[in-house]
Symmetry: C2
Subunit: 299 residues, 2 copies
Amino acid sequence: MTLKQLEAFYWAATCGSFTVAASRLHLSQSSLSKRVSELEESLSCQLFDRSGYRCTLTPAGTELLPKARQMLNASEDIVATVGKDLGIKGWCRFGTGEIAASSWLPQFVVSVKQQFPDLSLEPYVELGRELEQRLIDGELDFAIIAHPPSDPSIQYELIAEVDFDWIVAADMPCPRKHALATLVEKLPIISMHKNASTSKILDHWLRMQHNPKPKIVTCNNMSAMAGLVAAGLGISYFPKGWIAPLIEKRIVKIVPGSEPLEKLAYYFHWRADDNRRLIKELKGLVLENVNYGMPILML
Amino acid sequence: MTLKQLEAFYWAATCGSFTVAASRLHLSQSSLSKRVSELEESLSCQLFDRSGYRCTLTPAGTELLPKARQMLNASEDIVATVGKDLGIKGWCRFGTGEIAASSWLPQFVVSVKQQFPDLSLEPYVELGRELEQRLIDGELDFAIIAHPPSDPSIQYELIAEVDFDWIVAADMPCPRKHALATLVEKLPIISMHKNASTSKILDHWLRMQHNPKPKIVTCNNMSAMAGLVAAGLGISYFPKGWIAPLIEKRIVKIVPGSEPLEKLAYYFHWRADDNRRLIKELKGLVLENVNYGMPILML
DNA sequence: CACTCTTACGGCACCCGTAAGAATC
DNA sequence: GATTCTTACGGGTGCCGTAAGAGTG
């Protein structure tokens, strides 16, 4: 019995799939299968029921699972407390929404490369719901998601709260009073894709209104949205930091007198059973970037 | 970091010697040294101070020691609870005193061979004090000793209490009353070697007497002692079971009317930090042999 | 000189990945 | 047929033991 075998078993069991576990451990699927087989052999005990389409845990496997977790925890603990803190090696697969991907991601990657040159980052851009599922499945090491997790097996920590502003083309004439209401009557709202977490902001705003429903145009790309707004084809809402450069260049402007939109809280999500130093370090690095004084969503 | 490395480190640290640890793990000394080095490399951290004659633990090593123990415990726990109980493989090095070695040892070895054909036994015969030290040093896996351990790192369990009788040649004339006192005046007491645990019985008996000190002849071999007694050259005390065959053959006899000697309690000793199934199984086997209904010390 | 641990090195065994096979849906 | 896990196999790495080296008391 080796730690590698226990690790392979643990992730195979909790990912619910040998294939996913192999991917997570950056191992070929056949090697992972072999590791599990060898563990079974060394314990002389079937851990997976292989009769079905997917492998399922036997009672013995279910019994082993928490014990394997303990071993891996203890192992991590040793490395963390006794081992000298060296650079982290290996891979990290993480997920973010599109906004984050197009804003702080490059800077984050640069920070990681500086601090951990031997770590390979594999960003994965998807909508929040999808990211959470992939995290649960063990395909991702962590994810930045704009809502708290719905599954208790996921731990999370607040990273930042992002302010949004109503934006309109800089040359769009606006009345002094009730500018937003006037604009909404004339122009469509250009909104993020419905499944994106940012769309929650619009949902919330809409519930606050008693006006008839405004026209809404959806788009799945922030830059394209900004272009549409700049061309005077609609109004939209953007993260303050993200849109700031365009305001400075007088391409767009904040809708005057508009009430602030609901803040969007971003959380760092990770599997509660994953206590690798890797996770802690990268969480720290994300938080550090926030603490540089600039909003996390900065182009 | 692997379990083998942690095991090597643990025994190197607790045995206080790479050489002894290697012997205990049935590994060449150089391989053990390499395992420890590789552990240090994987933790990027010196665990032993190699400047002196012997290696000593660094602070980091001291910190690691209990954690390594936990890992090995957890590992043993998994094998014990999840793993199917198969025959035990490997080696077991154990110690006994001379009495045990010349009495129940062969039967014990046969029992072990029957139940665990793949287990190699390595008996080691020494005096009790010596055995305990070798147990502490990690050179022995267990020992049968006629006194409780003096070191708290050793666990123990009562195996059997052995009765001793005063023995004299069968044809030696004995008065009806005070036979023992009369014999002691005429004949020397043939006793086991002073460092043997059985000598405690004589010490105890002597303290109970207010007579002048009797002549005492020591001998380091039970069979030789029996021969001396049979030849009428002295009296001695033997375990009931051990001497029974010679009584039946009317070569020696119990000194009539002699008061019973103090019982000698035999204990199964093992290192408290050694929780291998091997130990539990062999302890059980020793106890089973006792429970066969015959005294443990049976030729 | 006895004893400790380390280093060098040849050989074997283990473990990985590729690729093909078997089974399920 | 797509996906899942297993098996076969070639190749490289890791680990063991022998033997020689270096340092201590």
